[in-house]
């Protein structure tokens, strides 16, 4: 039975579905136990023991990937899990993206076919090893039957079954047809971890060679015979309407094929992207901005501030916080603010579709293929089973492709034409029409007792509830637990604590998951405040944290490891400072120490970072390091530079000149130290690095300058103000 997860997080409904799973006990396997709905009925000589493995008579071994590869290395990690137990080498397998098929590819713990929440490895760790083992057992049985020997006298290795006594071998291809006739094993014993050949090693990733020579096909690169290419522009103010456009000017552009519209969208289709781009410029669309034309960042901020005066839904309440606060000898009352953020994945939104009267093909990169299919069904009236979603590697997800609205938009356009079309958003459209990480306005009060220990902690967050729109069944008594993920359960022993959450939806903007979700928001607040309290207590921030971790050996371990590897406490040059942040998120413990230098003219330079990680059992150590390195840079980029602002209902930012990305000359060196507790439950990793970035940076800047930053982004608050 799966243990309850610590996160509401991206897959807030995880909790909801785990509740139902608990009833079945061990039902994590449902849908993927061989012989259950996973297997295809007609094997036709192909060994297809479950939804994830296909072995044909010629020996081709195909592993089907239900999780989207968007850079995190999951194709390789999942292939390792299956191949470990199937006893094949990674060089022997071919990978294939799963179709949209809830009966076969639902992630039972998440409740749908989805990639997110740093959950892919966690949710695959047992079932996909079992899927590999079940297939192996059936291949062994087939060989044993052919040789008329006992199965236990046979061994599987490198895609062959060997009869140990005689040295006879049969390849998996040779056995495919007979293996398909074997009984599905009822009992599967997994390998002892001491015998792993693949798990725990760092093989060459399976997706990267084509990405190094230009042959990888992202959604943006799809080319279908007869395909045209269209550029989409939606009303720059949400809720606006297309009033008019200059069709004569559009038709004058060489290569333009069609103009198609929705009430709030125009798309110009051409023989190639350039015709579509120029055509849409020529169209000069005019918009009725609709009801949200007056919205500005100031109005949205005022809404949040006002809402934050209300008492929120209580997410945690231990002890008598108000009495404990009143009794404190020292207290800090602070407001922490986190802005709206765009995802800014480098591959802009795009969808290629061929919608016919009797069915549709859709080529796209998506984290939610079943939602994508339903969007197309809703747009076209086609039954979902007539719609094929061909999933592709994604040029950066970060949560963006957990939404399928852009696919519905594309389908409503594409159903107006008979030929296949690739519809894409420009970079400007991708930023301005994004669905944004919510703005969070957090009030926090905490106090120290006479022993300079934290005695009271009161944290109220105010912001959008993504869960309300994305997975309303995941709300818990109205609470979006993502808004308090990382806030209610801190690493520290705090005797009196209250957490509240106030929902406040931004007018005219849609919000969505963003890398690190709740923890990226709350750990900034929690670890910033802990640092503030450490300084108030006149205690070293590392020692202050240690003193509250007596109950948490894993927390203490990662904290000590990061501190010692970073040389915490050793002298630094003038203008330098170290910041530390500890967190438990996505079922993983991590601590980061970041060293910065703040120059005399207030330029923030990132020197290096050390992160210590305990994510329990490790599948692919190099990928863990890569995710921490990349995740930190993703979070540091946001903390330094990023905010989406709104004027007259329109997003102000449009491209990388005003939505700034970190570049190589700004990036710190990052060292990752793995200190796994192999007996712990397996943790997630894709979002862990991002979580610690902003608090480690804020705390380092404080150490360097004495200036406490409670609002993201930092650079606009500091730059140009010389000390």
């Amino acid at each position: 039975m799966p243990k309850p997860r610590d996160i509401g997080a991206v897959l807030n409904r995880r909790a909801f579905f785990q509740g139902s799973l608990a009833l079945g006990g061990g039902m994590l396997l449902s849908g993927m136990i061989p012989g259950l709905p996973g297997a295809q009925a007609d094997t036709g000589g192909v060994f297809n023991p479950n939804a994830f493995i296909r072995i044909d008579r010629s020996g081709g071994i195909t592993l089907i990937m239900r999780h989207a590869e968007m850079g995190q290395g999951i194709y390789t990690g999942i292939a390792m899990l299956i191949a470990e137990e199937l006893e094949v080498d990674l060089e022997q397998v071919v990978l294939e993206a799963a179709p949209a098929d809830p009966s076969r590819y639902t992630d039972s713990a998440a409740g749908e076919e989805v990639t997110g929440g740093s959950a892919s490895t966690r949710d695959s760790w047992l079932p996909l090893r079992q899927a590999g083992a079940a297939a192996r057992i059936m291949l062994v049985a087939a060989a044993a039957a052919r040789w008329n020997v006992l199965p236990k006298s046979c061994a599987a290795q490198h895609g062959q079954i060997i009869h140990v006594l005689t040295g006879r071998t049969l390849s998996y291809g040779d056995l495919a047809e007979e293996a398909a006739l074997q009984k599905v094993p009822e009992k599967i014993i997994l390998k002892d971890p001491s015998t792993f050949r693949l798990i725990g090693t760092s093989p060459q990733r399976l997706d990267t060679k084509p990405k190094s020579n230009g042959t990888a096909i992202f959604g943006m690169d799809v080319r279908v015979p007869g395909m045209k290419i269209g550029r989409i522009m939606a009303s720059p103010v949400q809720g606006g309407r297309l009033i008019s456009y200059d069709s004569v000017a559009v038709r004058a552009i060489a290569g333009v094929v069609d103009i198609i519209t929705l009430p709030d969208v125009i798309a110009v289709i051409g023989d190639h992207s350039w015709a579509a781009i120029k055509g849409l410029e020529a169209a000069n669309p005019q918009w009725d901005p609709g009801p949200h034309a007056a919205v500005s960042t100031k109005i949205l901020m005022d809404d949040l501030r006002r809402a934050s005066d209300r008492t929120g839904l209580v997410a945690k309440n231990t002890g008598d916080v108000d009495a404990a606060l009143a009794a404190c000898s020292h207290q800090i009352d602070a407001v922490y603010e986190l802005p709206f953020l765009a995802h800014a994945a480098l591959e802009p939104i795009n969808t290629t579709l061929h919608i016919r009267p009797d069915g549709a093909d859709v080529w796209v990169g998506t984290q939610v293929p079943v939602r994508a299919r339903q969007e197309v069904a809703n747009a076209t009236g086609l039954p979902p089973e007539k719609i094929a979603i061909h999933n592709h590697v994604i040029g950066g997800g970060f949560g963006r492709r957990l939404d399928s609205g852009s696919i519905g938009q594309a389908a409503r356009l594409a159903k107006q034409i008979s030929y296949p079309v690739k519809l894409f958003w420009t970079r400007e459209e991708d930023i301005q029409q994004d669905q944004f990480r919510p703005f969070y306005y957090d009030r926090i009060s905490a106090g120290l007792n006479k022993q300079r220990r934290i005695a009271a902690w009161k944290h109220r967050t105010t912001g959008s509830y993504v869960t309300t729109r994305w997975a309303p069944e995941g709300l818990q008594n109205g609470l979006d637990t993502d808004t308090v993920d990382g806030a209610t359960e801190t690493p520290y022993a705090i005797p009196a604590q209250r957490n509240e959450s106030v929902q406040c939806e931004p007018e005219g903007l849609t919000t969505l998951w963003w890398r690190g979700v709740g923890p990226t928001h709350n750990i900034f607040v929690v670890e910033g405040m802990i640092d503030e309290l450490a300084h108030l207590a006149e205690t070293d921030p590392l020692d202050f944290r240690r003193s509250m971790l007596g109950h948490s050996p894993r927390g203490l371990k990662v904290l000590n490891e990061a501190a010692s590897k970073s040389g915490w406490g050793t002298p630094l040059p003038a203008g330098h400072g170290r910041g530390i942040a500890l967190h438990y998120s996505f079922q993983t413990w991590a601590a980061t120490v970041l060293e910065v230098r703040v120059t005399r003219d207030n330029d923030i330079r990132l020197i290096w970072a050390d992160t210590a990680v305990d994510c329990g059992p490790i599948v692919f150590p190099d990928a863990i390091k890569a995710q921490i390195q990349g995740g930190l840079i993703f979070g540091l980029t946001m903390a330094l530079y990023n905010e989406i602002t709104v004027t007259n209902g329109r997003v102000d930012q449009s491209n990388f000149h005003d939505y700034r990305m970190m570049r190589i000359n700004e990036a710190p060196d990052i060292r990752v130290h793995l200190v796994p507790d192999l007996s712990a439950d397996i943790g997630g990793i894709g979002e862990v690095g991002t979580v610690a970035a902003a608090p480690a940076l804020a705390n380092a800047i404080f150490a360097a300058t004495g200036r406490r930053l409670r609002r993201i982004p930092f650079v606009p608050q500091i730059a140009g103000k010389s000390t």
């Binding site: 850079g71 995190q72 290395g73 760092s202 060459q204 990733r205 997706d207 990267t208 990405k211 190094s212 020579n213 230009g214 042959t215 990888a216 096909i217 992202f218 943006m220 690169d221 080319r223 290419i229 290569g255 023989d271 190639h272 992207s273 350039w274 781009i277 800014a344 994945a345 480098l346 591959e347 802009p348 590697v393 994604i394 040029g395 950066g396 997800g397 970060f398 420009t426 970079r427 190099d622 990928a623 890569a626 390195q629 990349g630 995740g631 930190l632 840079i633 993703f634 980029t637 491209n655 990388f656 000149h657 990305m661 970190m662 570049r663 190589i664 000359n665 990036a667 060196d669 990052i670």
Partner: protein, 151 residues
């Protein structure tokens, strides 16, 4: 008609003069390894070589190319620096989502050709025009050093 030479092949194109090379490569010639990221030469995903010099294909009208040779990611492995960079990229597991990496590899190859032993500052100068949203910079730096050392 415009004639351009890409990866040692000549192509006759019936396109307007102002069409950026990026769209010629991707939509007309089917060389989709060169990516669209920003369209305004901010991100470097569309980096190609013109006579060995890195350039942003999204801002380069096809009519200005003349008889200069274009090299794209699809053929950069035929150069000795390109092959070394690609090998170092794989060995250091640089690549995550990979969308920017064609451009990164093109920029790094040009750097290595000009400067067989780049310092960290040289790498910063040559590579800071290429955004990687996955944040693979630590490994890009390591891989360039490794490719240089493997000369």
């Amino acid at each position: 008609m415009i004639t351009i030479r890409v990866n040692n092949e000549s192509h006759q194109l019936d396109v307007t003069d102002d069409m950026p090379l990026l769209w010629v490569l991707r939509d007309i010639l089917g060389l989709t390894g060169t990516k669209y990221g920003c369209g305004v030469a901010q991100c470097g995903a569309c980096t190609i070589h013109i006579d060995g010099i890195p350039a942003r294909a999204c801002q380069l009208p096809v009519s200005l190319i003349g008889d200069r040779h274009i090299t794209t990611i699809e053929a950069i492995g035929n150069t000795k620096e390109g092959a070394r960079i690609q090998a170092a990229w794989l060995q250091n597991q640089v690549i995550q989502c990979g969308y920017c990496q064609s451009g990164q590899i093109m920029a790094a190859t040009a750097l290595l050709r000009d400067n067989p032993n780049p310092t960290d500052d040289d790498i910063d100068d040559a590579m800071s025009g290429n955004i990687c949203r996955c944040g693979t910079y630590v490994r890009i730096r390591e891989a360039i050093h490794q490719a240089a050392n493997n000369a």
